[in-house]
Amino acid sequence: MSLDRETAPRQPVIKCSSVYKIFGDNANRMLREANGNVDAKAFQDAGCVVGVNNASFEVHKGEMLVVMGLSGSGKSTLLRCISRLTETTSGDIHIDGEDLLAMSNRQLIELRRNKMGMVFQSFALLPHKTVLENIAFPLQVKGMSTKDSMTRAMEMVELVSLDGRQNYFPRQLSGGQQQRVGIARSLAVEPDIWFLDEPFSALDPLIRKEMQDEFLRLQGVLHKTILFVTHDFSEALRLADRIAIMKDGIIEQLDTPANIVLKPATEYVRKFTEEVPREKVLKIKSVMDPLDNTEEFSDLKVSQNAIIETVAESVLSEKKAVAVVDDNGNVVGSIHASNMLYILFGKDDTTKVGG
Amino acid sequence: MTKSLHKLALGVAAAALMAPSAWAEDSAEPIVIPTHNWSSQVVMAYVIGGIFESLGDNVEYVPADTQAVYEAIRIGDVTISHEVWQSTFGASFYNAMAKGGLIDAGTHSAATLEEMGVPQYVIDDNLCPGLPNWEALKDCPEVFATADSEGKGRWLEGPQSWHGDLMPTRLAALGLGDKYVVKFAGGADAIWAELASAKKEGRGIITFNWTPNFTDAEGFVFIEFPPYKDGCRVADGGDGSCGSPKGWLKKAANYKFPKTHPAAYSAFAKMSFSSTDIGQMAALVDIDKMSHQDAATKWLADHEDVWKPFTQ
């Protein structure tokens, strides 16, 4: 998978080690006494709420990590720790190798002005500013001139296909349109890291699907490092390079969508996967065999991003292995009809998966 | 700050140059004249202002509450007051004088009377035979009864701030206590409104009023109580069974006024308007419906013989 090829020598864009976030007056003391062994129940009895419990992970350049969990699972809190909207109780967070928690207020502002963008569930647009002014806001905050910021904002308006509505106020837009503004605003400063906090949760299912497609299209062009929070498991499967499933502040499992679906690590994760028709959510990329140059391919080529269901029938009708290609038409792997049968009808524990 | 320093320098220079005559001319600082909410007072304010201006003084007018104005004069925010009515403002006037800062600038010649009375038609229509003698009141309380007087006659008195319990004690002392009650109005407006309404209906009404006033034109008769003698009031140790004395109409000034504006003060101290003068001023506004400024201009033009002597 893309991961394997890109990671090794590089330093992660986001690196969290043993991050804790405890809410409550004597959170620090409680955490010290717990000695790294935090029991949510015991903390609650002492008047503390555990938001994030010992989270450690890395996100690499160009990767999209989706944090999935139900409400109260701590996923948004984790996101806010990494964007430092809330102060972390304990642990280390590094952004591009720099210690986020040690940054001064000024450094933090600089970091946000240049490296970070964030999209919010409730859109969080400024009600008194027009679409254009909202998008230009982060640029003006940086001190860019009105003329330049407006020109740049107009480009962003076009990017999210809102041309013609740049002088509307947020209240005059539909939810989907408002979130496009939110997305445009978060991208206006060309950030390296993109935080999205349940960006599509407040939208109607149809619009949500449309926005997800739009989002994938954008990411296809921009290749940002993304931390995406959602409570919608199928959304996580659709979008993620890797998924972190959270419950009660603990990351239950962090893995590729395919592994999550096919090999749930805990009972809690398995419950999510049970109802998921895997052929409808998994991409070819997640089940293909690594590239073997000795192999002979049939004439059919399938995209690595194709959902299994959409190509299953044609793959099954081929005798030879089918080549899997990336967006540029390069062959990146292969898939056999026999393998496809496993995926469609096989049992979890025997399924052979790639990645 | 710079302004006063500048003035200081100027002042020192001026004093050095012409030490003895420095006091001869009035200061250019404006003389602040208060305006209250009745016509004769406002017209007279503009009349006095006009007289000061004829002396070359600057004048400024400021609306002020009739009672609070004495404190303002004392502190120096207002320079003069030209209609200090004995019974209504006497208390505030003397309070301010006792604290210091306010001086008595003489008395107008106008003979004033502040007393309970009835509109002319009450006499003409013989609503209560025997009036204006007070004894007549004994026989016709019902003529002056109102909705809230429980069948008794009602005396409409000014606000309590004017003369406190003077009228209730007088009622009791005259033996009218079981036939009449006193109602305190909130202000002069309320009295005029009641008078106007009563006149339309030809109703009987007893109210506090004074002369000279605009009501003089339409006719207003003051009730003749037993004459005032020193010490007849309860506050002075008497039993209270007496009417009001002929009152004075005083002028007040801030204590610095004679020093800063000697010429204007000398004119102000000499100023003495008669009941006729005051009546004329009020009539220009109340009867002829002129604006207060216009009325003052007209009065000044028509009565140079009255006011010119004050300035000499």
Binding site: - | A28, E29, E150, D189
Partner: protein, 686 residues
């Protein structure tokens, strides 16, 4: 009994009432009986407050001040010089704006001196011709919003000019243009600091409560002592009165800004200042603009009262007109006040909502076309004014300034209306008046005065306990205790009697009118517009016709109070019912409820918490107006507040009496808020 068990509150209230009447029956009226009346332990307090204020003002920290007129040093006090300095700067601002509008010499004097004016009689700032001001206002309205606002501004100012009220109106305007921005600015700053600091918020809260419930008359004397008389004193009193709602609404607006919006601002890399100025304040703008609207309304509502302490303009002329019983003239002046309020309100709103077009590539002329237009109009109007001085003889140049009372007037019409009203209604109303006084008002007043103080405490604290537990009981008890320990307990009882009668009637009227109007959006709009108008329309004007009809009686006072206090009752009922979720009303209709059933079982209960806030406002409005009713003639706290204007210890008495009124209001406010909050929680309307 079963019924009482099901409704424990009802049982508690019944018990409370029984105990109350027992006390009323048992306690004997006697001045020495503490169950009947408490001793006035606080009686010396006003004197002490007074002595303290005077000490601060005249003796504390003596300084030598040079009197340039007398050419000698004089002893003064530091505070006095400080407050006088402040007064002078406020006055300078007012005079400056005023002289731009109507001309004068004060601004020149401020930079030179009176001697300069005396020596240079030419040195006088000319007035702007009224035509310039009107065109300016129209162009401004057009620039900010469009044709509608331009028309409104033009018509309103033309009315003022044509009716000959230009000069006083501009005097009032100049003082509002100073008082309103200062109030808005102070309100914003204090609101923001209360938002940022819990300590500031906790300190401000009681002060705000008192400032909003204390009758304005009671702080007129302190203001004159500290700041003198004149336009500046009027402006300062107005600022004291108009700032609290601005603070309150700023704080409310900031607290309602969604967390995510602030986070979005932070993620854009905003500094703390940028967060405050570019995110928080603009996002809270809806509430802040309501605050601005309130400030403008309050400033013009103070126009009349400010003239008691020296503010020139419409308010003073209105009092003069009333004193001459010229109702028509007073009415025209009152309309001018309302018009100024409306135009200022709309202009400020349009300014706040103004949009910029960033991509219109405009030339200099296009970008500045409105300013250029104004310059052109300015030139034309000035030329016209010069021509006018040639055309018009008799010293009045109608193209320059239409002098006071030289415009057209409809006075005779209103006068005839008032005359007709008295001629045709007076006698028929006498029966009603007498019946009301004899059968309702006097028994009610006597009942209030016949309450032993112990019974009053039992009743009020009991209600407090039932509504909000021991804490509420102690709070309302505390408020009451303060009043009971002054010498004015009986006066306060009379104030309570008048306020409670007026509140009952106002709320009844408000509920009915409001409910009817709320059925239809057009009717609601009209009713709200009437409420707005009545709120700025000076209440003094209707005092006179009411006295003519009902005499100097409690009926007159109560009618004036009810007219004023019905405004919030109606407004909040409309707003409350209009905000009932339509789905619930539809559910009601689908279950076959008739209009009346729906009103009783859906509209009223759901709108109840909001309506209760309206009742709360009604109480406060009623208390305010009962105090102003002292101008008709009452024997309650208001009469004593008026009297304090001439008292030796006016500061102390005024403030203490004001506090008594404020505490009555705050006790009721506390009970209603606690109750409404509980109801709200029950209905799940947080």
């Amino acid at each position: 009994m079963g019924y009482l068990k099901k409704h424990p509150r009802l049982a508690q209230f019944t018990l409370l009432l029984i105990a109350f009447f027992l006390l009323v029956a048992v306690v004997t009226p006697s001045e020495t009986n503490v169950l009947w009346r408490l001793p006035s332990l606080l009686a010396p307090l006003p004197g002490e407050i007074n002595a303290f204020a005077e000490h601060l003002m005249f003796d504390w920290f003596p300084v030598q001040v040079y009197d340039s007129e007398l050419k000698e040093y004089e002893q003064s006090a530091l505070l006095r010089e400080v407050t006088r300095g402040f007064s002078r700067s406020v006055l300078f601002l007012i005079e400056f704006i005023r002289e731009i509008l109507v001309g004068g010499v004060k601004t020149i004097v401020a930079f030179t001196g009176w001697q300069f004016i005396r020596e240079n009689p030419w040195a006088m700032w000319p007035a702007l011709p009224w035509t310039v001001v009107i065109s300016g206002a129209m162009i401004l309205g057009y620039t900010l919003s469009g044709r509608g606002l331009a028309l409104l501004a033009g018509l309103a100012l033309a009315y003022i000019s044509i009716f000959g009220q230009w000069h006083p109106a501009m005097e009032t305007l100049s003082f509002v243009l100073v008082a309103a921005p200062i109030s808005i600015f102070l309100g914003l700053i204090l609101g923001v600091s209360a938002y940022k600091s819990r300590v500031v918020a906790a300190t401000l809260k009681p002060l705000l409560n008192i400032a909003q419930t204390m009758p304005h008359f009671s702080y007129l004397v302190p203001v004159t002592v500290f700041f003198g008389v004149g336009d500046h004193a009027g402006a300062i009193a107005t600022i004291i009165f108009a700032t609290p709602p601005m603070i309150r609404l700023t704080l409310l607006g900031l607290q309602n800004v969604p967390v995510e919006v602030v986070e979005a601002g932070m993620m854009c890399g905003s500094s703390d200042r940028q967060i405050l100025l570019k995110v928080l304040v603009p996002t809270a703008r809806r509430d802040i603009l309501i605050g601005v609207n309130q400030v403008i309304m309050q400033c013009l509502a103070m126009a009349v009262i400010a003239s008691f302490i020296g503010a020139k303009g419409l308010g003073f002329n209105l009092l003069l007109a009333l004193n001459q019983l010229r109702i028509g003239q007073a009415l025209e002046l009152g309309i001018c006040i309302v018009l100024i309020a409306v135009v200022l309100d709309k202009l400020s709103l349009a300014w706040a909502n103004k949009q910029t077009d960033y991509f219109a590539d405009l030339s200099f002329v296009e970008r500045n076309k409105h300013s250029l237009l104004f310059l052109a109009v300015f030139a034309i109007c000035v030329v016209l004014a010069f021509l006018g001085s040639v055309i018009f003889k008799g010293g009045i140049n109608y193209l320059y300034l239409i002098p006071h009372n030289k415009g057209i007037t409809t006075e005779w019409f209103w006068q005839a209306g008032v005359d007709w009203m008295i001629d045709s209604w007076y006698s028929s109303l006498q029966g009603f008046n007498r019946g009301l006084i004899v059968n309702v008002l006097q028994p009610m007043k006597n009942a209030y005065l016949g309450m032993p103080v112990s019974a009053t405490f039992l009743l009020v604290m009991g209600v407090g306990y039932i509504v909000g537990g021991i804490r509420s009981a102690l709070i309302v008890g505390g408020f009451l205790l303060f009043i009971a320990l002054t010498e004015w307990w009986d006066r306060a009882l009379i104030t309570m009697y008048m306020a409670s009668f007026a509140v009952i009637v106002s709320v009844t009227i408000g509920l009915i009118v409001g409910s009817v109007a709320a059925q239809n959006s057009l009717a609601s709009k009209v009713a709200l517009l009437v409420c707005d108008t009545l709120q700025t329309f000076p209440s003094f004007i209707y005092l006179i016709p009411v006295i003519m009809l009902f005499g100097v009686t409690d009926t007159s006072v109560l009618i004036a109070v009810i007219i004023y206090a019905t405004i919030p009752a109606t407004r909040y009922t409309i707003e409350g019912i209009r905000s009932v979720p339509p789905s619930l009303r539809e559910a009601g209709m689908m279950s076959g409820a008739t209009g009346l059933q729906r009103w009783i079982s859906i509209d009223l209960p759901l709108a109840f918490p909001h309506i209760m806030l309206g009742v709360n406002q009604t109480v406060i409005f009623a208390l305010f107006m009962v105090i102003i009713g002292a101008m008709i003639g009452t024997d309650d706290l208001g009469q004593y507040i008026l009297k304090a204007l001439s008292d030796k210890q006016g500061i102390g008495n005024g403030l203490m009496l004001g506090l008594c009124v404020a505490f009555i209001g705050l006790a009721v406010d506390h009970l209603i808020h606690t109750w409404a909050a509980e109801r709200k929680a029950l209905l799940g309307l947080t």
